[in-house]
């Protein structure tokens, strides 16, 4: 392999590691909130809308989509191989555009709020 050609690996690994750490630290708390089992008032329309109305809230909510989604996309690609799906190029063409679609949708929805 030509070592002068930059590897694409850091591009995939950075979101994988960042997303994995973000999900590890914050996803359990978020899931507890959306079930309504903890602080049910937090998921009322008024509370959610007020939170998503300012740019800092939008940024936080965007983080809850972007970081876990790119982490999951990369891990899903690798795990597909372990589950016996060996068509890596095809899998990559499903998971990464899927993650991109969810990211774009999140941005569009947040800008509409």
């Amino acid at each position: 392999m030509n070592s002068k050609v930059p590897s694409h690996k850091p591009l995939v690994w950075l979101p994988f590691a960042a997303g994995g750490m973000f999900a590890a630290l914050l996803l359990p708390a978020a899931i507890l909130l959306t079930t309504g089992l903890v602080l049910p008032a937090a998921t009322s329309y008024e509370a959610a809308h007020a939170f998503a109305s300012n740019w800092l809230g939008k940024l936080v909510l965007l983080g809850f989509v972007l970081l876990p989604v790119w982490h999951a996309a990369h891990r899903l690609r690798v795990t597909a191989y372990d589950f016996g799906i060996r068509a890596d190029t095809m899998v990559a063409w499903i998971v990464y555009p899927g993650a991109a679609l969810l990211s774009v949708l999140a941005v569009v929805f947040l800008l509409q709020i």
Binding site: A23, T35, G36, A48, A52, G84, L110
Partner: protein, 139 residues
């Protein structure tokens, strides 16, 4: 005499549950850890659905929250939560192997167990701070 290599047959779909030559508990644990991403992706889809509902207005949002907080929705999220927590635990336990070794002032390496403990403490802190912030921010 010609060498006759023995290529061991491995079922590429069931190797992690069915192959008697493999260390099954180890591979089962590995697959459980890797499978957490399916549930994290699923939760992200639910989350984006919620953002869409929030953008559409109170009625659409009521439909979303109604589904999320119905019995089925809560059960689904508790399953997702179980895998999310499994992701957290395995992620932290593996973290010292995936990062640059941390060193103390005297150059001694910080023991891996200490790094894992610090991460678990961070998790507890992040969860408490998140819930407190949300509680404060509720109008």
């Amino acid at each position: 005499m010609a060498r006759r290599p023995y290529p061991q047959e491995v079922d590429r779909f069931k190797w992690w549950i069915a192959d008697p030559h493999f260390n099954r508990p180890f591979y089962l644990d590995y697959m459980a850890r890797e499978s957490t991403c399916i549930f994290i992706a699923l939760y992200a889809i639910l989350f984006v659905w919620g953002l869409g509902a929030l953008a559409s207005g109170p009625e659409a949002y009521a439909g979303f929250i109604g589904a999320m907080q119905s019995t089925g929705g809560v059960i689904l999220q508790l399953v997702i939560l179980a895998f999310a927590v499994y992701h957290t635990v395995t992620w932290f336990i593996l973290a010292p192997q995936g990062m640059k070794p941390m060193r103390m002032k005297d150059g001694k390496r910080v023991p891996a167990g200490r790094v894992v403990q610090a991460l678990f403490a961070m998790w507890a802190g992040a969860t408490v701070v998140t819930l407190l912030l949300v509680w404060v921010l509720i109008p």
